[in-house]
């Protein structure tokens, strides 16, 4: 049947069968929308995709435009990497947890650092009060990193580090630890998040203003291009943008706006597009709206490929492949009836897998209450294993490809994200838009709207605004031993006594010179780390040269 014939047939159906039904049983709502407010039709037909061109818009897995996936076999070859973000208190304790997770079948490490480490303060800094070891492991010096990775084969695991403003220093420590164990640097594989722009927009662990921060990012990229060919130098993150309250469309658009800024900075620093683009990786959120999330991943893959080819003239197919890690949505977890979070996480994880993620973190059910307990973390990992081994969804590639609804949503998200990118261009590019608070304003607007929808019960959250139960049964949560702060402080004091003070001073002076000039900062930072300078000392030098950033408040 022709599309026009189909349209006529649809109108006939609407006028007869449908009308008869709705006149007696009206639909639940007058209008249906996705979580990102994209209108959802009653039913989708081929006529909703009038211009679909299979070759151009979908293609085959592993080939442009990569809508269906970036590898030719996807999960038929190998499952996604099950990578649980973890890190607690001291390096010793985290090391035990990592070895446990590897034993349990996890295939890569993902290191969470505590906030002082993320913001460049030593554990004995006044601002670190109460924060040491809380949301991740406390790292003050190379010695802590050595303990963290003791008995873990650095050349055989891939290590992902969620670290941004202090990424250079932490990577320097990893490199120094490998060198001490005589592991060749080209055998190291892993990722540093190193995505400073989204820190300003959404996550808040920035230190320096955008311009010097961008330099640290590109310095790290250039260093890795030369010495750590298997290291992902950046994980450009929409995850936190979404957590801050953005829509799915904003998540894609703002992540790519940031990505474009990094690519431009790297090009400006003299790198060649196909030399670094294959090492760019991404990090997205898997939220509640199942089909919208799947469509989001597919749209992002297609859009990124186009940006790389059309805007940056990438030739290497690998430059055009959107490789991404996914985490289920932390902000969707509820403190009320926490066991329900297992189900939410499972659905979100399923969307990530159907959307073709390369690696996945599933949240623990208790994260709206406290840091995850070991039991909750195990259930979260098991959720992924059940999807992989029992559900059968991993047996064919892009199982929803061709579904009228999903294809239509994919087109819609791509188009809307493009509109945002054009808007950013009009505002003079990412950094200008950032400075003017454009991203903050857009995200806050969405976050506020979402909150209002929940409060008016236009949006139902099970257990929160509907289906509440009176009594909350307590669940077991993890507590961090508060003495960790003192223990780290004592370690620091001993280190400062023991190390060669002259060498420390010299390395820090050298770093100051390099930072003031324009040379790549990585070698000087590695030298500092190997001289047992602390993270706080290194960042203090950089603070004094670069200054500090203050957030934008947008009303």
């Amino acid at each position: 049947m022709s599309l026009r014939g189909l349209e006529e047939e649809k109108r006939r159906w609407e006028g007869t069968t449908l009308k008869e039904s709705t006149s007696r049983f009206p639909e639940r709502k007058g209008e249906f929308r996705t979580a990102s407010a994209i209108p959802v039709e009653r039913v989708y037909c081929p006529s909703d995709l009038p211009s679909l061109d299979y070759e151009r818009d979908l293609g085959f897995p592993g080939e442009s435009p990569f809508t269906r996936g970036i590898q030719p076999t996807m999960y038929r070859g190998r499952f996604w990497t099950m990578r649980q973000y973890a890190g607690f208190a001291s390096a010793e304790e985290s090391n035990r947890r990592y070895r446990y997770l590897l034993q349990q079948g996890q295939s890569g490490l993902s290191v969470a650092f505590d906030l002082p480490t993320q913001i460049g303060y030593d554990s004995d800094h006044p601002l670190a009060t109460g924060e040491v070891g809380k949301v991740g492991v406390a790292i003050d010096s190379l010695e802590d990193i050595e303990v963290l990775f003791a008995d873990i084969p650095l050349d055989a695991v891939s290590t992902s580090m969620t670290i941004n403003s202090t990424a250079s220093t932490l990577l320097a420590m990893y490199v120094a630890a490998a060198r001490k164990r005589s592991i060749p640097l080209h055998r190291l594989s892993g990722t540093v998040q190193n995505d400073i722009l989204k820190e300003y927009v959404a996550r808040g662990t920035y230190i320096f203003p955008p311009e010097p921060s961008m330099r640290l990012v590109t310095d790290l990229m250039a260093y890795c291009a030369e010495h750590l060919p298997n290291w992902n130098t950046i994980s450009i993150s929409g995850y936190h943008i979404r957590e801050a309250g953005s829509t799915a469309v904003q998540e894609v658009a703002f992540t790519f706006a940031n990505a474009i800024a990094y690519v431009e900075a790297a090009l400006e620093a003299g790198l060649k597009i196909d030399d670094f683009a294959p090492r760019l990786s991404f990090f997205f959120n898997a939220h509640n709206d199942f089909f919208e999330e799947i469509a989001k991943f597919r749209a992002a893959r297609r859009l990124w490929g186009k940006i790389m080819r059309e805007r940056f003239g990438a030739r290497d197919a690998r430059s055009c492949m959107l490789r991404f890690h996914t985490q289920t949505a932390g902000c969707s977890l509820t403190a009320q009836q926490p066991e329900n979070n297992i189900v939410r996480t499972a659905l979100q994880a399923l969307a990530a897998v159907m959307g073709g993620t390369q690696s996945l973190h599933t949240n623990s059910m208790d994260e709206a209450l406290a840091l995850p307990s070991e039991k909750a973390a195990r259930v979260a990992l098991r959720t992924q294993q059940i999807i992989a081994h029992e559900s059968g969804v991993a047996n064919t590639i892009d199982p929803l490809g061709g579904a009228y609804f999903v294809e239509s949503l994919t087109d819609e998200i791509e188009a809307r994200a493009r509109e945002y990118l054009d808007e950013v261009e009009k505002r003079g590019g990412t950094l200008r838009a950032l400075e003017a608070g454009f991203f903050h304003r857009e995200i806050q607007e969405s976050a506020y709207r979402y909150q209002k929808e929940v409060e008016s019960r236009e949006r139902v959250i099970v257990g929160v605004n509907s289906f509440q139960t009176e009594q909350m049964e307590p669940i077991e949560t993890l507590r961090v031993d508060p003495s960790i702060g003192q223990a780290q402080a004592a370690k620091l004091a001993a280190l400062r006594q023991r190390r060669n003070a002259g060498r420390v001073k010299e390395a820090l002076e050298r770093l100051r010179d390099v930072a003031t000039g324009s040379e790549n900062t990585m070698p000087a930072i590695i030298e500092c780390v190997e001289s047992l300078c602390t993270l706080g000392e290194i960042c203090d030098v950089l603070r004094s040269v670069f200054g500090e950033y203050k957030e934008v408040m947008i009303v």
Partner: protein
């Protein structure tokens, strides 16, 4: 010249965590309820928060924290508010604060905790009915 009195609220994020979605949503909801909201931003020490509360002469302090550092920070804040005689100021908190910490947190002078899933309407109502009434 009648009735220009407004409830003044300080919203601050003590500690180092950067998750300010909740703090900003609440700030805006309080503003929309007609209050004057002073937003002092991330990385606030207890000393900064108390000094700001004094200079801005606020009726309410709202603290948001998700990193788990609440006990030492709230404890210091409680000390300082008592020292400075800010007993009339209503202090509330939001974020992730485990149930078993609640008695201690109340002891430190935090009158209410609004955890994940709280509605801004409840927060606004609580502030309206509990903010001190004794000035101007």
């Amino acid at each position: 010249m009648k009735e220009r009195r407004k409830i003044r609220v300080l919203i601050a994020k003590p500690g180092l965590d950067g998750h300010d979605r909740g703090a900003k949503v609440v700030a805006r909801a309080l503003r929309d309820a007609g209050m004057e909201v002073i937003y002092s931003g991330l990385r606030q020490t207890p000393e900064m928060i108390v000094e700001t509360a004094i200079q801005e002469d606020v009726d309410v302090i709202g603290l948001s924290i998700l990193s788990g550092a609440h006990l030492p920070l709230f404890s210091r804040l409680g000390e300082l508010t008592r020292e400075q005689g800010l007993d009339r100021v209503l202090i509330v908190a939001g974020g992730i604060i485990p149930d078993e910490d609640m008695p201690a947190v109340r002891e430190m002078g935090i009158r209410a905790v609004f955890g994940p899933g709280s509605s801004t309407t409840d927060i606004v109502d609580f502030v309206l009915s509990n903010a001190p009434q004794d000035k101007g």
